[in-house]
Amino acid sequence: MLNKRLAVVGEKATVVAFEGLGVAAFPVESAEEARKIVSRLIRRKEHAVIFVTEDIGKAVEDIIAESTKEYEPSVVLVPSSSGSQKIGLRKLSQVLKRALGTDILKVE
């Protein structure tokens, strides 16, 4: 059995809260920085679960899409403090579309 750490990537005001829980926080300020950090985290596989807040989720959508075929890590989009933008659900319907050929959830 293996113990691995968790990571949170997002805007600073949002991710510091997770730092208090002992989760590795990676504050990012720009889209490029987000892309760099997320792709490095995925490649290194040191963290089993990477939470990405939705406000930067748009900037790294393609990087996350590539990671879905890997066994690890699991990249999960979570809403930021400004509320859910349904990007997480959209990613889910993309997985559905690839597997089934149609989208059965119909997220607008």
């Binding site: 113990n3 997770f18 208090g20 089993a48 679960v49 690890e72 979570v78 690839r98 089934l100």
Partner: protein, 207 residues
């Protein structure tokens, strides 16, 4: 499309065996695909509900944290949470679903949750952290399930390709080739018969 083979009886027998094998493989793969699909659909609905719940829960927790931040001051609160004694990790366990290796995460925490001076920080921070930790447990559950869904989805796609390749390419072409060989063989048979009859006629005419 017809395969490129010699129209012989040997070849015909070989192809018939291959066709039987291809049909059996197709049936097995189809069954696998159906079962994968069943698991997949069950997961989809679980995840949808779980995700909506998690998003709601997390939003509540954010709100509490923001309140704590504005009550206690951004610097004080951020300094308080930036040196945690709490260590959070996940146990990763491998599980097999229909021969697809899927990781399963379980949250493991150690150390105290509130490791800051209670006098200088607002009480709201404590409740915010407790709420966030509760949300985190469900987020990790969501992470396992979403990963499982992604991996099963990938397997479904691969299986579907193989099923389709057998159903629409290999099996039809085997059938066509078998038909071609048996036609060719009976054509040769008829050719042989007429030649024999003709030869016999010639022989009879001479005597």
């Amino acid at each position: 499309m017809k395969l490129d083979v010699n129209p012989t009886r040997m070849e015909l027998l070989r192809l018939r065996k291959r066709l039987a094998l291809a049909r059996r493989g197709h049936k097995l793969l189809k069954d696998k695909q159906d079962e994968l699909m069943k698991r997949f659909m069950a997961l989809v609905y679980q995840i949808k509900d779980l995700r909506l719940g998690v998003e709601r829960e997390l939003e509540q927790a954010w709100k509490r944290f923001l309140v704590a931040r504005s009550v206690g001051g951004a610097e004080i609160v951020e300094a308080a949470v930036s040196m945690p004694t709490r260590r959070t990790s996940v146990e990763v366990r491998k599980r097999q679903i229909m021969n697809v290796a899927v990781p399963e995460f379980r949250l493991a925490t150690e150390g105290k949750l509130a490791s800051y001076g209670l006098a200088t920080t607002p009480a709201e921070l404590d409740t915010a952290l407790v709420a966030m930790e509760k949300a985190l447990g469900r987020m990790v559950e969501l992470a396992s399930k979403e990963k499982a869904l992604e991996l099963i989805g990938d397997e479904i796609e691969r299986t579907r390709r193989r099923v389709n390749a057998l159903e629409y390419v290999l099996i039809p072409s085997l059938e066509e080739t078998i038909r071609y060989i048996s036609m060719k063989l009976s054509e040769m048979e008829r050719g042989n018969l007429t030649r024999l009859m003709r030869v016999k006629e010639i022989v009879r005419g001479r005597s």
